[in-house]
């Protein structure tokens, strides 16, 4: 009897914790279908989704965000994978410590330091802030995530597999490309999705290094939200939540393989 009560207690506690975590999102999604402009339920409507779709600023922001996430995701996955592999081959412990350091550095610090770097570089190069600077910044912070995911994967990878490949006639590159890489593939895919998400998600660093023509979706939403809680923001946010949920689930699946 007591154990049933204890189970009930645990279930209620878990429900409360989940509600605390997700109630705001649930309300946001609910109100994104509200016909009214205000926070009073008037009836179901797809009106705000239509408005969002027709908003040129939102469209441009989404496009920018997708380009940035795509390019920086691919670049950081390639660089991070190779970095993790090199560290694994050499057993470099100091470097992996430095990776965690870059994860815990406050974003504002990373952003300001990147801005300082770009300003310094622009004195010699005829360049200004724009999509490319955002991409460079995103690659810089995504590499740490990718490298950590791949390193975790490599920790359980059997080193003799590469030796066996070389023994059977593969060069070092062949052993990496035809044995190690296929075995790392699920981890690489998971790391790539993670890089995509952290890039799409970022506001602080992006807002510092973006130019006037490279507003990302989070920046557009932020600007809209500052002008007052608009149902359009709800609609866009609800859409992002669902899209991200799918990507994260996919990444989890891949990591478990």
């Amino acid at each position: 009897m007591r154990s049933t009560w204890r189970n009930h207690g645990a279930a209620i506690y878990a429900a409360c914790a989940l509600a605390f975590l997700h109630a705001p999102l649930a309300i946001l999604i609910l109100f994104s279908f509200n016909a009214s402009r205000f926070t009073v339920w008037e009836g179901f409507s797809l009106r705000w989704y239509r408005v969002a779709l027709e908003d040129p600023q939102l469209a441009e922001g989404l496009l920018n965000s997708l380009v940035i996430a795509g390019v920086s995701g691919v670049l950081s996955t390639v660089i991070g994978t190779l970095a993790a592999y090199a560290m694994w081959r050499r057993g470099a412990r100091v470097l992996s410590g430095m990776l965690y350091l870059s994860l815990v550095t406050p974003e504002i610090v990373t952003g300001v330091s990147l801005l300082a770097l770009f300003e310094g570089a622009f004195r010699f190069l005829q360049l200004r802030l724009g999509l490319h600077t955002v991409i460079i910044a995103h690659v810089a912070f995504s590499i740490a995530y990718v490298t950590i995911v791949i390193s975790a994967r490599l920790r359980s990878y059997d080193r003799t597999l590469e030796e066996a490949a070389m023994d059977l006639g593969a060069s070092e590159w062949g052993a990496f490309a035809r044995v190690t890489l296929p075995n790392l593939a699920p981890g690489i895919a998971a790391a790539g999705l993670l890089a995509l998400v952290v890039s799409f998600d970022d506001y602080v660093i992006t807002s510092l290094v973006a130019g006037v023509d490279s507003q990302t979706l989070p920046m557009v939403i932020y600007a809209m939200a500052r002008r007052g809680v608009s149902p359009v923001v709800n609609a866009v946010s609800a859409f992002i939540v669902v899209a991200f949920g799918v990507v994260i689930l996919l990444s989890e699946r891949l990591q478990r393989r």
């Binding site: 059997d158 597999l161 030796e163 066996a164 070389m166 006639g169 593969a170 060069s171 070092e172 075995n183």
Partner: protein, 314 residues
């Protein structure tokens, strides 16, 4: 014709210890050779240097008379069967065997790989992934994967260590048959003296990074060159400075001989081992026939032997 493999004073020094110390060895074509020694004696490091996974800090390695000391693993015509088999987990049994053929750009890879799979009687498992194979099957795929390349020399790093005893005996016989059938020179690394003695044409016994003795199993057992070899291969009683094998040690209920008391009796199936605590505190083993005189624990006994059974070392 030069030996298939020749090691000339090969050494490997790590920062804090010398794993292999001036090892010299020559293997004739088509033989079954073993490197035998306790763990940490340098036998695996020696094998890894021959395979190209470690670079010697001194000496030369010659394959068919050609210096391969500094060549990479993929540049030498040797192949290794690893202790954990190292099968590629993402490839089927057939694809694992094809791997080397493809890397070498040989023709008819699938046909040859299938033949090799048949050779180890695993034709039915061609599409199985390594995770779906038993230990013995993995072992045979690993063997086929190396043999299909027809290397000058096959290196085997304790390939039977991970198998259970029953399977180990069976695989031992299969290995030997496979070696005779293919005519490829095998160099087998093991710490199991029974394995080395039963399989090999020639055995090199290693200890502390050096080769103590090389010879036929019979040589090593009957005419060990050092105390270490005598003690490592089979049991040995030490009476003063003289070594006597249990089967050359006679035991009787009356003198003359070395007095002692029976400590324990071990029934080994075909014979009986009587463990004796000697009066001077030493320990000895005498082998007696199953149907011979019976001794009881605690009984006073005397040990004796013929001069012909004595082994002497400096």
């Amino acid at each position: 014709m030069p030996p298939v493999l020749e090691l000339r004073e090969v050494s490997k020094a790590f920062p804090n210890h010398r794993a292999v110390d001036r090892v010299s060895l020559a293997l004739e074509r088509g033989g079954f050779y073993s490197l035998l020694g306790p763990s940490g004696c340098g036998k695996t490091t020696t094998l890894r240097m021959i395979g190209g996974f470690e670079e010697p800090t001194g000496g030369e390695i010659l394959l068919n008379g050609r210096d391969v000391t500094r060549l990479k693993p993929w540049q030498r015509d040797v192949s290794t069967v690893f202790q954990n088999y190292a099968l590629f987990p993402h490839l089927s049994a057939l694809r694992n065997i094809e791997f080397g053929l493809r890397e070498h750009g040989r023709p008819d890879t699938t046909k040859r790989a299938l033949e090799a799979l048949e050779l180890v009687r695993l034709g039915a498992k061609r599409d199985s992934l390594p995770a779906q194979l038993s230990g013995g099957e993995k072992q045979r795929v690993a063997l086929a994967r190396s043999l299909v390349l027809e290397p000058q020399l096959l290196l085997l790093d304790e390939p039977l260590a991970a198998l259970d005893p029953q399977l180990r005996k069976q695989m031992r016989a299969e290995l030997k048959a496979m070696q005779r059938q293919t005519g490829i020179t095998f160099l087998f690394v093991t710490h199991d003296q029974e394995e080395a003695l039963s399989l090999s044409d020639q055995v090199a016994v290693m200890n502390g990074g050096r080769i103590e003795q090389t010879g036929t199993p019979e040589d090593l057992y009957l005419r060990p060159a050092t105390r270490f070899v005598a003690g490592f291969l089979g049991e040995m009683n030490w009476f003063g400075g003289v070594g006597v094998r249990p089967e050359s040690t006679r035991i009787s209920g009356s003198g003359p001989g070395l007095p002692g008391t029976v400590e324990s009796l071990l029934f080994l199936g075909n014979c009986l081992h009587v463990h004796v605590r000697l009066a001077d505190g030493g320990h000895a083993v005498a082998e007696t026939p199953r149907d011979g005189q019976r001794f009881a624990e605690g009984e006073a006994v005397w040990l004796s032997w013929d001069a012909a059974g004595e082994l002497r070392f400096e």
